[in-house]
Subunit: 218 residues, 2 copies
């Protein structure tokens, strides 16, 4: 049932990415259920889909290449968006994000697979940082436009067991000129375990300047 | 020549990991040159190997499973150490670490591949966090034994172009009881570009208690 729902409420993308020749290309949306998702992940996903019905929340699709997010941009075939760099379902980052525009909040349902191991049986601190950076970054992008991480500070409270499901809950706290301040909590499904908490500063980019120009003069 | 050097000065591991049956298993050391390494990476690697000759620096091997680092532990076949989760050379994290024990310093030569993309053409902030966490964590482990990341704070100064080579230079600043404080800089080979700077707090683990017990009562 959740799979049918997913198809029904799947939001429209702004535009289909174009092939170099100008034809439409179908990009796989990785933020849809697959057979590696645990029951806990599926239940949570269904609950969020339900909350999408009145428009309070929006499901965010996810592609394997960053230019897939930018309409009209040519895909570079040799690159992959970092958290989507594995094609085997379930081994890496399984996740889906939901945006609450009025709360300036992005929630990511995250199920870390066995290829994200750090300490034996638990997710690597770098994989936790990655899903936090991705979630906070997506939240900042939807609220403030094109941004870049300037600071990310994470307190690791309880290690995340591989195969478990956690909620990465982020929100924009403040916008000051080009600075976007955000915070984030990573909790178990039942809310009982705080796995990590983070704060971040993102810088809003000027589309007329190169990334390197802008980041070097922060 | 650098490849020959690599074989010559390759340090002995403390013990070979054992197969469940008791036989010796050969684990691939990923911290040795391969054809994806750029000339800049090779030159830097050779320079560090040279500095290993008098014992000031030590080359640190790197395996694809965290238990490969622990002699006698049984490998879990379904897991992979996060920064070693891709088998194709050059697409992900290419890196080699060198330890300077007297300076309590660990340097990582890092060449991010095209599967670590975040912003178009540049490394994802999460991949930078991952190589920093891995380098700082290895440094803390060699100085203080088994540890776990408690805090990681990163300032991103200049994005890291995919395919470029950077030096992740970390050191232990202070040890207070179970707390190990470290800092880190990520710079271009020529030292002219500061890509990121980070501070970290690691907690020394008590081998008689489980990870979860210890992390939940920080």
């Amino acid at each position: 049932a959740a799979r049918a729902e997913a198809l029904r409420v799947r939001p429209q993308r702004a535009a289909e990415p174009m092939e170099p020749g100008g034809g439409k290309r179908q990009s796989k949306d990785y933020a849809l259920p697959n057979s590696s998702w645990s029951q806990g992940m599926m239940d949570l996903y269904s609950r969020f889909l339900e909350m999408c019905k009145d428009g309070t929340w929006k499901r965010i699709p996810s592609y394997s290449n960053s230019v897939d997010h930018i309409p009209g941009k040519k895909e570079r075939k040799d690159t992959r968006l970092f958290p989507r760099n594995m094609d085997t379902e379930g081994v890496g980052f399984e996740y889906a994000m939901f945006l609450n525009p009025s709360e300036k909040r992005m929630v990511c349902l995250f199920q870390p697979g066995p290829y994200l191991e750090g300490p034996s049986g638990f997710a690597h601190g770098g994989s936790t940082a990655t899903i936090i950076d991705s979630t906070i970054g997506s939240c900042a992008t939807f609220v403030a436009g094109r941004v870049m991480t300037a600071n990310l500070s994470i307190n690791y409270r309880n290690p995340i067991p591989l195969g478990s499901v956690v909620l990465v809950d982020s929100k924009v706290d403040q916008v000051e000129g080009r600075k976007v301040f955000l915070s984030c909590h990573v909790r178990s499904i039942d809310g009982q375990t705080l796995h990590a908490e983070a704060t971040a500063l993102f810088i809003r980019l000027d589309s007329t300047k190169s990334l390197q120009q802008q980041m070097s003069c922060q």
